[in-house]
């Protein structure tokens, strides 16, 4: 479970990038995070993962405060950043080993998970190449693999499906479903409304740093008393008028 309480964030020259955000992401559900470009999705996620300092408010992951119990909190989530261009001078296998060392995964488990996951994602043959030579989608897959080998309770994914081929996207969606069904937390941002509609149990919509909607599909219908598609709803909620 992720609890975001009264969180605000300012950037130099950009006040209120996030303004008094309250959001609880429950266990056992897939929660989609929507919003126009620049709405504050990545900023929120970066505060959740300890990358950005929180100006005001608090965020806890399974009860661990990301600022006060940073190490404990960081051990229980896996994060896929929106731009996967990291560690380009390492080989794929070296990156996975590095992650394995940090999360202290025993060698045998590591070996088995790396092999099955990378074969599923069809990047096994590229493991001995530098990440620099990977395509965008391959880079994303290696980072997703890195998350999966330490099998964290909470998944935090920033636009994980952008750039994946249909087969890999399908696989990742299946994995997300499975993971949530086991009672874990899955939180991901996306611009793909169909995906969100088809996959998510709950939807949170943010615009200009403020949460403007949070609820399940049932609540969407109730609140708007219509059979509006998510697309229509999204456009209506985020329009400037």
């Amino acid at each position: 479970m992720i609890e975001i309480k009264n969180v605000s964030k300012n950037f130099p020259g950009k006040n209120k990038a996030i303004n008094e955000l309250n959001l609880t992401i429950p266990d056992g559900k897939i929660v989609g995070f929507l919003g126009p470009n620049g709405a504050g999705k990545s900023t929120t996620i970066k505060m959740m993962t300890g990358i950005l300092p929180i100006d005001k408010g608090s965020i806890t992951l399974n009860g661990y405060n990301i600022e006060k119990n940073a190490l404990e909190a960081k051990k229980i989530f896996g994060y896929v950043p929106d731009q996967p261009d990291m560690f380009l001078r390492l080989k794929g296998i070296e990156y996975l080993n590095f992650i394995g060392d940090i999360f202290e995964i025993p060698k045998e488990i590591r070996q088995e998970r790396i092999e099955t996951l990378t074969k599923q994602f069809n990047i096994y043959n590229a493991l001995d190449d530098y990440i620099q030579t990977y395509s965008h989608g391959m880079r994303q897959k290696i980072i997703v693999t890195g998350v999966l080998i330490h099998d964290p309770d909470i998944w935090i994914l920033d636009e994980p499906l952008t750039g994946l081929d249909p087969k890999s996207a399908y696989m990742l969606k299946e994995m997300m479903r499975e993971h949530a069904d086991k009672g874990n937390t899955v939180f991901f941002s996306s611009h793909g409304l169909e995906v969100v509609e088809q996959l998510c149990d709950e939807v949170a919509i943010i615009n200009k740093g403020e949460l403007i909607f949070h609820g399940n599909k049932q609540e969407i219908r109730e609140q708007f008393q219509s059979d509006q598609s998510l697309e229509e709803l999204f456009l209506e909620l985020t329009s400037d008028e």
Binding site: G50, I51, N97, D128
Partner: protein, 545 residues
């Protein structure tokens, strides 16, 4: 032409952008400025005196043109060396070219855009070296307005010729090296080649100046007016034409010489454009960055191994340094360049170095050895790039469950272990060439190993104060940052004073006592420095960058 201008401006902006930099560390620049201003006055004073003294000696002999001749020769040489380094980095190390290729630009426009940064450096150097001497000479010789007019024109043209020579040389070499079809490897080879080239030039100059003919020739050349000028510029017409243009500024022949300079510069410019399109653009595109191999399943299984976190992290740091050409050049090759260079000069001058240090007492030898090696260790770029090297990978340090202390420890350890290479080299020199006594070598080794740790902390600390993470090209981590200089000034400043004091206090005698004092001070400094760093980490400073 306006498009060319836009390309040049954009390329410069990308390199000197202030995006993401906080203004809170302005004091770093203030300190650098405080060091700089008195030096500037001192420097201008020296130039003035030098020009005046030379003029007073040479003018009665009718050889005053020699001053300008030397000036032009010297500035061309200097600009050549700077071109060499900046062209290498701008044309071959920087990766910004790829973002310009898709635009509808002529290749000469891209080429000129790339040349913008080297030229900026060249003009800065030329203003610092050429302009003061030029004005002082004009004042002393009572030159007329044409002298100044011609001089300004020549100043504008000054960088073109040395730049073209350096660029063409490099483009030829790179064309040859690129046969390897591997960008990373070619970069490293070219980098090492150019350092070797600088050493070679030095060796050649040293070998030539020893010849006895010089005196005989001198006597002949002094006889005629401007004879010395002719002698020193006989191999290099641009310097001769430039000088004559200025000294004869008042007559028509001066104008002809100026014309010659303009024509040669223009020719050089077009030669650069022509050869650049031919050699550079065709060569630099289409070289693969990494090497792709098929991997066997067995090999991958073998590569999976569990390591302690600190080791795994340090290994990652070292891998990245050794695999990134810019980092490899800055952090490994360049730190070796100093000792190798010094060694070659020493060998040339005295041949046999056994007992070279015998002229000093044991205490003095130790102090010399210590301060010299702490300069080497302190100038290593690995520590001052500890954080900046990460670039876009930095957030991973924040979202992975890593203890910040662990991160910094591993980074410092990586910088420290790179220093081991230099230390090993100096150790070999001490044992085999200088043949220093064993106890001295051992004590020095202990001292320098701790000092190396100290300077690794210091550099990392400074980098933490103002890291450069938003680079698009590794070059930016080192360029346009004074941090390396500041780290060196702090460390060498402190130890320099300490060594001077120890050297002059007669109460502290002998190898052991003086080494012990050094040891105590280094340990205390290391302790203080690591406390300072821990404090910054406790304040979560690493998250706020």
């Amino acid at each position: 032409m306006s498009k060319t201008w836009v390309v040049m401006k954009t390329m410069l902006k990308m390199q000197y952008s202030k995006a993401g930099k906080s203004n809170s560390q302005i004091w770093l620049y203030v300190i650098a400025g405080l060091f700089f201003v008195p030096l500037l006055f001192f420097y201008i004073g020296i130039i003035n005196n030098l020009v005046e003294a030379l003029y007073n000696v040479l003018q009665p002999l009718g050889q005053d043109s020699l001053i300008l001749g030397l000036l032009f020769l010297g500035i061309h040489m200097l600009l050549f060396l700077i071109s060499f380094i900046t062209v290498l980095s701008a044309f071959y190390f920087a990766e910004d070219i790829e973002s310009f290729i898709p635009f509808p630009l002529h290749s000469y426009q891209v080429l000129l855009g790339k040349a913008a940064n080297p030229f900026l450096y060249l003009y800065l150097t030329a203003s610092a070296v050429f302009l003061p001497a030029f004005f002082f000479y004009g004042a002393i010789s009572g030159a007329n307005i044409l002298y100044y007019l011609y001089g300004i024109i020549m100043f504008v043209l000054l960088p073109i010729i040395p730049f073209t020579i350096a660029a063409i040389l490099l483009m030829l070499v790179m064309r040859f090296v690129n046969i390897a079809k591997n960008k990373d490897r070619s970069k490293v080879i070219a980098g090492i080649f150019s350092l070797a080239f600088i050493i070679l030039i030095n060796v050649l100059v040293r070998l030539n100046t020893n010849s006895g003919d010089l005196i005989n020739n001198l006597a002949v050349f002094v006889q005629e007016k401007d004879g010395l000028l002719r002698m020193i510029t006989s191999y290099y017409p641009p310097a001769f034409f430039s000088t004559m243009g200025l000294t004869e500024a008042s007559s028509f022949s001066g104008f002809l010489f100026l014309l010659a300079v303009i024509v040669i510069s223009a020719a050089a410019f077009f030669l650069f454009i022509w050869l650049g399109q031919l050699l550079y653009l065709k060569g630099v595109l289409g070289i693969g960055a990494g090497n792709k191999r098929k991997s066997s399943q067995k090999k991958i299984k073998k590569q999976i191994a569990a390591r302690p976190v600190w080791l795994s992290y340090m290994l990652k740091e070292l891998r990245i340094i050794f695999r990134t050409p810019t980092f490899f050049m800055q952090c490994v090759v360049q730190s070796l360049f100093g000792p190798v260079f010094l060694l070659i000069i020493l060998m040339l001058d005295s041949g046999d170095l056994t007992g070279f240090m015998n002229m000093f007492s044991k205490k003095e030898s130790m102090l010399i050895l210590f301060i010299a090696t702490s300069v080497l260790v302190g100038s290593n770029a690995a520590s001052i790039s500890s954080i900046s090297r990460e670039g876009k990978s930095w957030p991973a340090n924040l979202f992975l469950p890593l203890d910040p202390k662990q991160i910094f420890f591993s980074k410092i350890a990586a910088a420290w272990s790179l220093n081991l290479i230099v230390i090993a080299l100096v150790l070999a020199i001490c044992v085999f060439l200088f043949q220093l006594p064993m106890d001295m070598i051992l004590i020095w080794l202990i001292l320098i190993l701790i000092t190396s740790w100290l300077s690794s902390i210091l550099g990392t600390y400074l980098d933490l104060l103002q890291p450069k993470l938003n680079w698009t090209d590794e070059q930016e981590v080192f360029k346009t940052r004074f941090i390396g200089l500041i780290a060196l000034i702090i460390q060498v400043g402190i130890f320099g004073v300490l060594v001077l004091i120890l050297w002059n206090i007669d109460a502290i005698q002998g190898l052991y006592t003086s080494s012990f004092v050094l040891f105590i001070v280094i340990v205390i400094a290391t302790f203080v420095m690591s406390k300072l760093l821990s404090k910054k980490i406790k304040q979560n400073e690493h998250q706020h960058i």
